[in-house]
């Protein structure tokens, strides 16, 4: 466990260093935000020392944060020189996410969640225009309400069990207080995951955030929440699982229909798709003892593909497909393929893994909903593809060279997870036991 705390410490240290160095020397090019990178690498390396349950969480979150850092220099912010703050917030958000995902008791989870949520809100607020502010405000208010619910649940759990730890199935079964508390805590974390009746603010925030930051906001919270909820479900048993199955299925339906309506707006479509993927994670979490493993795997895969898509879109306030060079067009296509679950991309393997556990534990109806949501997602994800490929010309500008490392790392992650999904699965698997 100590390695996880060390990783958090290193990330916080990195944030301070970034603030001190980059903020001080404003004449430096914006790539100075990359000062934070070594800290992320060290944190990830430390994460590998962590016990199996958490190593995947730490490594995946560090990867998401690292790619996020790589994209910071093209920040499309309202105030352009906020690069240092954005970088520091990315690092702190990653630290909070690790705190949430690696929490050993409910109090740690709450504090980690709040750190993550507040940095996400601020990152959203950095986006351009009143839209970003508005979305950030909505995200914050709804987050605060769900935090209140979560804390209320924490109070009930303390009353019911007399401890701050994740309650066990026996404790939940013996006392309605604890059950109500666990349900409230679960819904509070489900807000971070952006599951259906709690997705409202997240959806708008995902839409309005600056493209170079949106990927981090979308995937870090999902990753951390998936791990934390997984731990809660594993500990508290089926009571929460059944809720998650139905909430997850509803989320898939909602996200799919919502995304279908977004023919003209790629960013909004991607936001809705984040909701759909949250639904898959929720469904997986509710699917029996193997569910949390699958959910962790799914979340890690989702992180890689969301980062890839936004690495390709970064640097543009409005996504214009024709302005992407060949490299970013191919990267975007790969990300969209993976999001829509085209084999052999990792998105497909993750979906398949969810279907397997859902069929075993969640029943045919939920599985059918997941299948339908999965296969019909091609209708909205692949819609831009003919235009995208037709827009590729070899002689066009490749876009901004500063983006190359970010796109490359994210693409490597997606390709690697697609070819060798077993590695991430093995890392996630131990978290199930």
């Amino acid at each position: 466990m100590i390695a996880v705390y060390q990783a958090i410490g290193v990330l916080v240290l990195g944030a301070v260093v970034v603030l001190l160095l980059v903020g001080r020397v404003s004449t430096r090019p914006r790539e100075a935000a990359w000062i934070g990178l070594p800290f992320v690498v060290v944190a990830a390396a430390l994460g590998l020392q962590a016990p199996q349950p958490l190593s995947l969480a730490v490594v995946a979150l560090c990867a998401v944060g690292g790619v996020g850092l790589l994209l910071v220099p093209v920040l499309e912010a309202a105030v352009p020189e906020h690069v240092a703050e954005a970088a520091a917030l990315l690092l702190l958000g990653t630290a909070g996410a690790i705190g949430l995902g690696g929490a050993t008791d409910l109090l740690q989870a709450v504090v980690g969640l709040e750190t993550l949520a507040l940095s996400a809100v601020t990152l959203v607020a950095l986006g351009a225009g009143e839209r970003a502010l508005e979305a950030a405000f909505k995200y914050l208010v709804l987050g605060a309400i769900s935090l209140a619910g979560l804390l209320f649940g924490l109070g009930l759990v303390i009353l019911g069990t007399g401890a701050l730890t994740f309650p066990t199935a026996a404790q939940v079964a013996s006392n309605p207080l604890t059950l109500a508390g666990v349900v409230l805590v679960g819904m509070g974390i489900a807000f971070e995951l952006a599951l259906f009746p709690f997705h409202w603010g997240a959806l708008d925030a995902y839409t309005a955030a600056a493209p170079s930051l949106a990927g981090f906001v979308m995937s870090a919270s999902k990753l951390a929440a998936a791990f934390a909820l997984g731990r809660l479900v594993l500990s508290a048993g089926v009571e929460l699982g059944q809720i998650l199955v139905w909430v997850g299925s509803l989320t898939i339906v909602w996200g799919t229909f919502g995304a279908l309506a977004q023919a003209a707006d790629l960013r909004r479509m991607l936001a809705y798709s984040a909701i759909t993927h949250a639904g898959f994670i929720g469904l997986a979490l509710g699917s029996g003892p193997n569910g949390p493993t699958t959910a962790a795997f799914y979340a890690a895969v989702y992180g890689s593909m969301a980062m890839l898509v936004f690495a390709a879109l970064a640097g543009q306030r409005e996504p214009r497909l024709r302005a992407l060079g060949p490299m970013r067009a191919v990267a975007l296509a790969l990300g969209l393929f993976s999001l829509s679950g085209i084999p052999p991309t990792p998105g497909f393997w993750a979906k398949l893994a969810v279907l397997v556990v859902a069929w075993q534990a969640a029943g045919p109806l939920a599985t059918l909903i997941a299948v339908a949501g999965g296969v019909f997602s091609v209708l909205y994800y692949l819609r831009p593809l003919p235009d995208l490929f037709a827009a590729v010309r070899g002689d066009e500008v490749t876009g901004r060279p500063v983006l190359v490392p970010g796109v490359l790392v994210a693409a490597l992650a997606v390709v690697g997870l697609g070819l060798f999904p077993g590695i991430a699965w093995t890392l996630a698997r131990a978290s199930g036991s």
């Binding site: 709804l142 349900v183 059944q242 309506a261 069929w359 299948v371 999965g374 091609v378 209708l379 819609r383």
Partner: protein, 570 residues
């Protein structure tokens, strides 16, 4: 050679990469780098087929979360035959496309998509388990979508592509479900029918049903046929390769591959036979009412696939496969011959505009004639007669009602193909100034269809040899009927009758005055569903109103509701 063949899906990838990178640089020669792929595929497949045997590749535990998560490729006589068909038609289509797409600015992209398609199709054919099958299965769907929507500026191409995607998605979903519900260790296609696997949830029936749904979506059978006619919005070589010869036949291939499972599920088999027959008749009828040349042929494809399904459904998978084999040749021939006229007429496709223009293209005329004769099953001199008679014979023996319907259906075949042939090739020309000859583009097109002509004539004689070769993967089969025989003769007579009547009817001068037939639209019900779905999604997205108070209300009420449901119903 089988060992090499097990990696056949790699063959077109070098071409894909080179073409995508812009090699060769001269635009006139774009696509030349891709040419070698299908030829190598053809040669290797034929040599492997002659050599026989089988070879498999397996990487265990590649996808540890699946019941069978290995990478399994299986090259045996059956896959070799399919790959030979793929290589043959693909090689022809590649050469043909050099002419057909000569002036298109997206030529390079076209060949990249083609390479992607051939690679996915090869992987589909080589798949040894459901996981790998899914990769190829989805891959061909995606390449099909990209190629249908290739001319994205033309109206309707994107929606046609999305329709194909939607239909494919239904099939993908069925296959996905099959891959996730089989009991552990039951992914390999050849083991699906074993005791252990058939004992899984739902048993053999459920698995067979899922495979049938997947196959029906890919092969445009039953209610899922709506996408194929609209898929003609893509370039004609694509219609020949993907939407006539290979991809749409993948459904038949999968059913043949898993025929042992079908034998355990007689009700599903019967459903396959009935749906195949119904589709054959309905699609033949629809073809007679098409105002678009290519759509007329597309309905013919659906009908012929229906014959193949019927063959598989009545318990004679080999006849279905044999018809797939000959059909690939003569249907590709029909499309490519039609493409020559369409190209020469500046991309016009409606029958009214093409009326009588076919006579200015000798290769096209002869090609279409040979293809038509093969389609109605002229005994001895065309390949179609051998395979179609085999299906009808097997159906008459096992399910006589279905057999008679299929036999009478040949009349419809004669009618629709005679109508197309009569209008385009035999009627007096409507506007001969619409024709532009471009020798440099026509040469590759003309000569590339010659092998298909030969194939449409002689391939039928390979039937008994194939039966011996395939006895390994398919098990013992009933002998093919002798040619010529009574049912075959009867079928041909009916078909020829339809052909002659149709040609006579459309050549009358009165017919020329009334060319404005209304096209029968296959996709009306799909459009209705899609409209309803989009309307629902639009109103649903309005609930996301952007008003914070409503969001708060929704969240708080949701918390209360979930608490109430969970805690008080306990």
């Amino acid at each position: 050679m089988m060992g090499l063949l097990a990696w056949a899906w790699v063959f077109t990838l070098p071409g894909l990469v080179l073409t995508a990178l812009g090699v060769p640089r001269d635009r006139r020669y774009a696509g030349y780098a891709s040419l070698a792929g299908p030829v190598v595929l053809l040669v290797v497949a034929v040599v492997a087929l002659l050599g026989g045997g089988s070879s498999s590749v397996a990487f265990e535990n590649w996808l540890p979360f699946l019941p069978d998560g290995a990478y399994r490729a299986l090259a045996d006589e059956l896959s070799a035959l399919m790959l030979a068909i793929l290589g043959f038609v693909a090689a022809v289509v590649y050469v043909y496309s050099l002419g057909y797409m000569a002036d298109d600015p997206g030529k390079r992209r076209f060949f990249v998509y083609l390479d992607l398609f051939v690679a996915s199709m090869a992987l589909l054919v080589l798949a040894g388990n459901l996981a790998v099958l899914l990769i190829g299965w989805t891959g061909v769907g995606i390449s099909s979508f990209l190629l249908i929507s290739f001319w994205r500026d033309r109206p309707g191409t994107l929606s046609a592509g999305l329709q194909a995607l939607a239909a494919n998605a239904v099939g993908d979903g069925a296959l996905l479900l099959a891959a996730s519900i089989v009991p552990t260790g039951c992914g390999p296609l050849v083991t699906l029918s074993t005791q252990q696997c058939a004992a899984g949830p739902g048993g053999a029936e459920l698995l067979a049903l899922l495979l049938f749904i997947a196959a029906a979506a890919k092969s445009a059978q039953g209610p899922l046929y709506f996408w194929l006619p609209n898929a003609m919005a893509g370039p004609t070589p694509i219609s020949a390769l993907i939407h006539a010869a290979t991809m749409v036949a993948a459904g038949v291939y999968v059913l043949v591959r898993t025929h042992a499972l079908l034998e355990l599920a007689p009700q599903v088999s019967l459903a396959i036979a009935i749906i195949g027959t119904a589709t054959a008749i309905a699609a033949s009828l629809a073809s007679v009412f098409q105002a678009n040349f290519k759509k007329g042929i597309a309905y013919s494809t659906i009908a012929q696939l229906g014959y193949m399904f019927a063959g598989v459904g009545v318990g004679a998978p080999f006849t279905g496969l044999f018809h797939l084999f000959t059909h690939a040749s003569f249907k590709a021939l029909l499309f490519l011959a039609a493409g020559i006229v369409i190209h020469g007429a500046g991309g016009r496709e409606s029958l009214a505009e093409l009326r009588g223009l076919g006579r200015f293209f000798a290769f096209s005329l002869w090609g279409f004639l040979i293809g038509s004769l093969a389609l109605i099953g002229t005994p001895l001199v065309t390949a179609g007669s051998f395979s179609k008679d085999a299906i009808i014979d097997a159906a008459l023996a096992n399910q006589p009602v279905i057999g008679w319907i299929l036999l009478l259906g040949v009349t419809m075949t004669g009618l629709y193909i005679g109508r197309l042939f009569g209008i385009v090739y035999l009627a007096p020309a409507a506007d001969q100034h619409a024709v532009h000859h471009d020798p440099s583009a026509e040469r590759p097109m003309n000569w590339s269809i010659v092998p298909l002509m030969l194939g449409s004539i002689v391939l039928g004689y390979l039937g008994n040899w194939l039966r011996t070769v395939l006895s390994g993967p398919l098990g013992p089969m009933e002998p093919l009927p002798p040619v010529p025989n009574l049912t075959g003769g009867l079928a041909f007579t009916l078909g020829a009758l339809g052909f002659v009547v149709a040609v006579w009817y459309v050549r009358r001068p009165e017919y020329a005055a009334a060319p404005g037939e209304t096209s029968y639209r296959a996709d009306a019900w799909v459009r209705a569903i899609a409209d309803a779905g989009y309307a629902a999604s639009a109103s649903l997205s309005r609930i996301q109103s952007g008003v914070l108070t409503r969001y708060v209300f929704g969240s708080v009420v949701a918390v209360a509701a979930i608490l109430l449901i969970r805690v008080s119903l306990r």
